[in-house]
Structures are given as structure tokens and as C-alpha cells.
Symmetry: C2
Subunit: 308 residues, 2 copies
């Protein structure tokens, strides 16, 4: 059982979907990652920042799930990062209505002393300079560094992104972002260009079409479970990353075969995340529910073919 | 080993892709279906129509592959159906440059006497009235009728489409068409609405994202093999359908489990089809190449998870 460092936002979200809307609720990449990773009972620590407007009950929720919060700075008189968005009818696209960086604008991450020897580091979507700063604080080189990022940083901080990419093992991005980062339409070609930028594993998230895991010699395709209804996609990508990182930290096995299983766990957890608003579904998720859905994943994808 | 009736176009195609362009080459739904099904050495017959401008060598090619051509009418002085299209850079969309129906405009299909007891009927993409006429000619009810269609018929012959759908077992359409046909965005919900229209199996083709097989109780997701390059997508859907139908005709097993394997074979053959212009790759495809790619499909999708 390894230690897991999670860096990312802990935030307020306000969400509108065709099914309804929320007031400010608990959100943020580190929140979703932490909740997903907590399913594996790993020793995890969140590195983040909030204002003193952030409810103690939200912090208690994460702490109760076993996420160490020493690295979450609470800024006196500061306001917590706030994001608000509205999803379109197809749930695959959204408009950002409000982004208030607030305390996040001056986020200077501090990895707690006791986690500077963590085996796994999950760099949630943030400025790549902040992600790099976390890596520089590690006393021992982590066994696996996973980085999540997005097109915004490709547009606005590409140099910093390339710098941090040299120090990571796995990148998780969506298909459009992989194309933007490499100028390659074929995802196979895109993955090969990304290896040259640093990571030896590339995870390409395709939303309702599943996720691809590449390394130089192998490729694995985990479809997404076809759902009757996607209620709120917010946090699905972070939940995927949290399940992926949590499973790797739990098993301490960094092989392609084990990363395949990590992708399946990530997809499984993400399929729950979208069933309710925000973190609601992830707060109350039982092991037996997860087992049942893993079984569904098996029957969704497994076949027995006799080569004649 | 059952008999397979294939109805669809036998045609000239002229294709432009970012990789080059062709003159008039062999094309048509029945052609691609027949070539794919021929991999299973089934006793198949094509039902179609051409003009006497159609080269004997193309007919010989199909005959040589074991496709019975008694049902392919050759109209003296008539011209063969011609389609020309240009693919966009992403290969996922195309513009139709020319559609000349020619002899197809008056196509009155005739199922050869000896194939009116076929176990499997593959209704390639055509006017649903023509598809219905083929079914009406069968002396015995086929064990499995598979229908391929497209948005054009939903726009222009919806009533006829609904009529023929009442008599089929499997429909193959793409994701956007499933949504158009049902008004449901969720493919799970779309499949459920389609059952009510007739078929008990629904295959939803998602191009580079693979294919889904649904029946009321089960769902199976076959991803597409990630390819470095798609050279020419023309005929990929028909090749999928031909592999699917051919495997079912060969095995005579109409269970969900066997249809899963049929989907895998269809996807595998389609992954070859797109490697060269038109039918070129399908004309010269060895059993060992297919076996090798089936192995790739296995390692692409199969995982071993221990539920803890």
C-alpha cells in the first residue's frame, strides 16, 4: 500500500444541466480525485487551497474518507475558487458561466513533510507551473507521476506544460487535447508523439466512447458503460483519474497489465459519478455497488473467440 | 453452413481522400458485404442491378470469391449506379460529389429460386421498399434478417422503413441515425425504442469509437482497433455488416453470445477495409492476417480483474 499525493482544486461548483441546477456545492479536481481514490483505502493527502468561506463540513467529509488535509491551505479572509457551468442538451459540451480564481490565483502548493516520499503523485488539472512545484518538493522520486491537464494550459502555458511533462510517467487528456498537443489526428500517432515529450503511458479519455491506454508496445481500450442517462458529467474525468491513481497506489504495480485494470476501475467509478449532481454519488458508494458494476464491465467487453 | 442472401448496390465509386483519388473503381454495398462474407465460405448470393457498362472482370472477381450472381440483373444499354465522394481531413465526414442512380432507379430485385430458403438475409442500405420486396420473395422465413439503413431513408421513406423494420431481427445504424430514428440521445434509450419498431437486436456503429450490440437484456461494446491511418473509409460499414452476417450464416447460431463474436469479426474485417482504396484490401486478405488481427482485438479489450 503506497502513499498518494493529490494536487488540484478544492472548490465550489454551481452546475446547470437539462435536469436541474445546483447552488454552490462541493467540487474541484482534488475533491473528486480524493473521493475516488478513497475507495482503495490508500494513504492519500490533498494539496490545495481554499478561503475561510469554505465549509468545515466539506473538509470533514474528505477527512472522514481518509484524505489527509495538512496540505490544504486555508486563507484567512480569502475566498474559495468558484466555477459555474451550464451543460448543453447532449451533455458533451458546456459553457463556463463563471470562473473566480480567488485564493487559487496565488496558490503556492506545500506537500506535507510526511508525504514527500509518496510512491504515486496525481497532478490534477492546474497550471503546469504549480504541478511542477509539487514534483520539486518530493524527497524521493515517485514510482509513478500521473498528470491531468487540458487545452487551456496548451493555449496559455505550453512551455510550462512541456517542462512538467518531462518528469511524469502518465498523462491523461481527452482526444481533442491529444490532437491539439501533437497536431496528429490519429490517436495512435498522437500517443507516439507524446512519448517523446516525456510520459511513457498515455491515457486518452473519450467520454461516452471510453478511454484508451497506450505505451510504446501496447494499446488497451476500455469502453464507457452505456448509460440510460448522464445526469451531471462534472468531475467524471477527475473521478476517472482518482480511481486510476488510487488503484495503482494500492497495488504498487506499475506494469501495463496493472494499468489496464486501473483504467477499468477509473471508468467504473466515473460511471457512478455522473449519476447525480457533483460529488453526491461518490460520497455514498458501496463496495458491492462497485463490484456489481465491474461485473457489468466484464460482460460489456469480454468475449471468447475460437480462432479457426 | 447456411445460405446468405445479400441485397445492395453493385456500383462504381470514385473517391477522393487526403491521400489521393481514384477513377471509377468497384464499389457498392453488396460488393463489400459479399467480399467480407466470402471470408467464411458461406453459400451467398448477391441480389443487385448493373448496366452493361459494368466490367466483366468485376463480376468475375465476385464470382471467384464464391458470391452467386444469378440475382444480379445486367441491363442492356443501361448504366451502372455511380457514386463519387470526397472525404474531409478528419475522415469522419465527406461530401457527396455525384450520385447517378442510373439502372438502380428501377431496381426490382429478384431473389434466385435456389436462395429463397436462405437462413440469413442481409439487406444492405437501399430504399426500404426494395428491402421489403426481397423479404416478400423468401419461401421460408429466414432465421435472421439483418437490415442496414441510413438517415437518407429516415428523411425520405420513413413509412417504408418502419414497414420493413417490423420484419427484421437486427438493424445496423450509426449513432446519429439511432438518435434521429428515436429522438433519444442516450443510445441505451434509443435501442429500447428500436426494439418496439421490430428488431430484437440493435447494432450501433460508431466508426472510430467501435460498435455496440444491444438486445433487451444485454449490451456488448466492441471498440474499433486504433489505427495509425485511415486511408479510405468507403465500404467500412458494409464490410462490418458482411463480416457480421457471414459469421452468423456460417455458424447458424443466433444467440447474443454468438452475435458478440460476429461483431468482433465485422470490426476486424472493417479495420482492413479502410487500409486501401475501395475493395483493394478486401480482395487480397489472408486467413492468417485475419487471425493476427483478431489476436490484436483480444489484447486490445481483454482484461483480468480480481474482484476483491
Amino acid at each position: 500500500m503506497g502513499k498518494l499525493v493529490i494536487v488540484g482544486t478544492v472548490a465550489f461548483d454551481a452546475i446547470e444541466t437539462p435536469f436541474g441546477k445546483t447552488d454552490r456545492i462541493l467540487g474541484g479536481a482534488a475533491t473528486f480525485i480524493g473521493l475516488a481514490a478513497s475507495q482503495f483505502n490508500v494513504d492519500s493527502a490533498a494539496v490545495s487551497i481554499v478561503g475561510d468561506d469554505f465549509p468545515q463540513e466539506y473538509l470533514d467529509l474528505l477527512a472522514h474518507k481518509g484524505v489527509n488535509l495538512e496540505g490544504v491551505e486555508i486563507v484567512k479572509g480569502g475566498k474559495t475558487f468558484f466555477w459555474s457551468g451550464r451543460y448543453h442538451n447532449d451533455m458533451n459540451s458546456r459553457d463556463t458561466l463563471v470562473t473566480e480564481l480567488n485564493t487559487l490565483a496565488d496558490f503556492d502548493p506545500k506537500v506535507p513533510e510526511n508525504y514527500r516520499d509518496a510512491e504515486v503523485v496525481m497532478l490534477g488539472n492546474l497550471h503546469p507551473g504549480v504541478q511542477m512545484s509539487v514534483l520539486e518538493q518530493m524527497d524521493t522520486k515517485p514510482k509513478m507521476v500521473i498528470l491531468d491537464t487540458m487545452n487551456f494550459w496548451m493555449d496559455n502555458a505550453l512551455e510550462d506544460l512541456h517542462k512538467v511533462m518531462k518528469h511524469i510517467d502518465v498523462i491523461t487528456i481527452n482526444d481533442e487535447e491529444a490532437r491539439q498537443l501533437t497536431g496528429e489526428y490519429s490517436l495512435v500517432n498522437a500517443a507516439h508523439k507524446i512519448y517523446e515529450m516525456g510520459p511513457r503511458y498515455v491515457v486518452i479519455k473519450k467520454g461516452e466512447h471510453g478511454a484508451l491506454l497506450f505505451n510504446k508496445d501496447n494499446v488497451f481500450y476500455a469502453p464507457a458503460l452505456p448509460l440510460r442517462e448522464v445526469f451531471d458529467p462534472t468531475g467524471a474525468g477527475d473521478t476517472f483519474a482518482g480511481g486510476f491513481a488510487g488503484y495503482i497506489a494500492k497495488t504498487g504495480d506499475y506494469s501495463f497489465d496493472n494499468l489496464k485494470t486501473a483504467v477499468i476501475y477509473g471508468s467504473t467509478l466515473a460511471s457512478f459519478c455522473v449519476e447525480k449532481f457533483g460529488t453526491e454519488r461518490m460520497e455514498n458508494l458501496s463496495t458491492s455497488e462497485i463490484r456489481k458494476r465491474l461485473d457489468q464491465f466484464k460482460s460489456l467487453t469480454q468475449f471468447d473467440i475460437e480462432l479457426t
